[in-house]
């Protein structure tokens, strides 16, 4: 009598091994390097981020009646 669940498990395991081998082959970089790039991206774009700076003289969503103190 065949063992359904054990052969089914072997199918799933084969698939998982195939996937893990692909992932193991990836070239990874150190966080000190990648984090510096993430920080640099933020710094380079911070002046053009309206929600961050709060300054947007032509923002149509903001009420025209209010004053903007610079």
């Amino acid at each position: 009598r065949c063992n359904h669940s054990s052969n089914y498990s072997s199918i799933i395991s084969s698939k998982l091994i195939h996937q893990l081998r692909i992932e193991a082959g990836m070239e990874r970089l150190k966080i000190s390097l990648t984090a510096a790039d993430l920080v640099q991206y933020c710094q380079e774009h911070k002046r053009s981020d309206p929600l961050l700076t709060g300054i947007n003289t032509s923002n149509p969503f903001k009420d025209k009646k209010s004053c903007v103190l610079l």
Binding site: I31, L38, C42, H45, G54, P60
Partner: protein
Amino acid sequence: MCDQTFMAATFGPCESCGKPSPLMNIYIKNEAINYCSFCVELMACQGLQSGESVASLKRECESLKKKLEEERGKLNDVELHQVADKIEVLGALAIKTRRVLKGHGNKVLCMDWCKDKRRLVSSSQDGKVIVWDGFTLSKENGISVPCTWVMACAYAPTGCAVACGGLDNKCSKAVAMHTNYVSGCTFTNSDNQILTSSGDGSCALWDVESGQLLQSFHGHTADVLSLDLAPSETGNTFVSGGCDKKANVWDMRSGQNIQSFESHVSDINCVKYYPSGDAFASASDDATCRFYDLRADREVAVYQKDSVIFGASTVDFSLSGRLLFAGYNDYTINVWDVLKGTRSSILFGHENRVSRVRVSPDGTALCSASWDHTLRIWA
């Protein structure tokens, strides 16, 4: 959301018996085969892998997983917030509600901005999809979709079309057919292709005109709840997250799962790329949002607080990537400092769960959709 574990399936003719039925996409000795579930059982019965016992396969799985963890650990030479120590602390943010969009008769489940930065589309549990002008609050269009729980809606790049999907397992007039609900949809870089995520555990790429399945993505072991396309400069990949607590990155052309992250302890409700495309964030029922660095292949930040105990349903980045807006089931939106890992601000206003937050294409505003039947625009 659901605890069921199952293999992903798509429709088509079985490679064994030829009958069109839901197919299981599996690998035998690196060969991909597509059999219907009956033929898979039959094959399992006949015994397929001589000499390879289940135990030895499991051992190989475990050793590969350990090796992966070791490789990832070697790169953990510094924490993101340490690198961010040298930059200035964020000032107080002057963000508040500028518009309240009323018109839906039930929970608003999804919304998307049009590239023209003023129109938006929203979908609701009552089966209605509404297109709004965000400046004037006028409703430009309203359509009824023949299903409730319209969980996903998206604006086409040209602004000429809207796609939506939900509990009827379809995305817009049967462009996309899944075997379970459609949780998310997005146009790719043209009006002609749609990427969908589904409760059936798969993601799929469709041609809008012919309804043809162009590529399917299998790997999640439970419902996929969200997906996001990488910013166009970085190439043809997308990230998906789901009830199996995993976030997977996929190659759109080959259908291959190229990276996988499993650090959340509950369902992932939403995934969103960082604007440079080198990282992405996730929101989860475990009350945390997390930040994953794709080039280091690991989680680099967890956005959490003891006082934040309700699940996070949605996230989006501000234009520079410095702010992460996250909507929660406690009706609030927390604004996180992505680099330093601290909370910058809380946005109050909604009177029920926040289901979706999206920053406008030019970064001037944030739109939030809620179970309180309204949408809010913040700026």
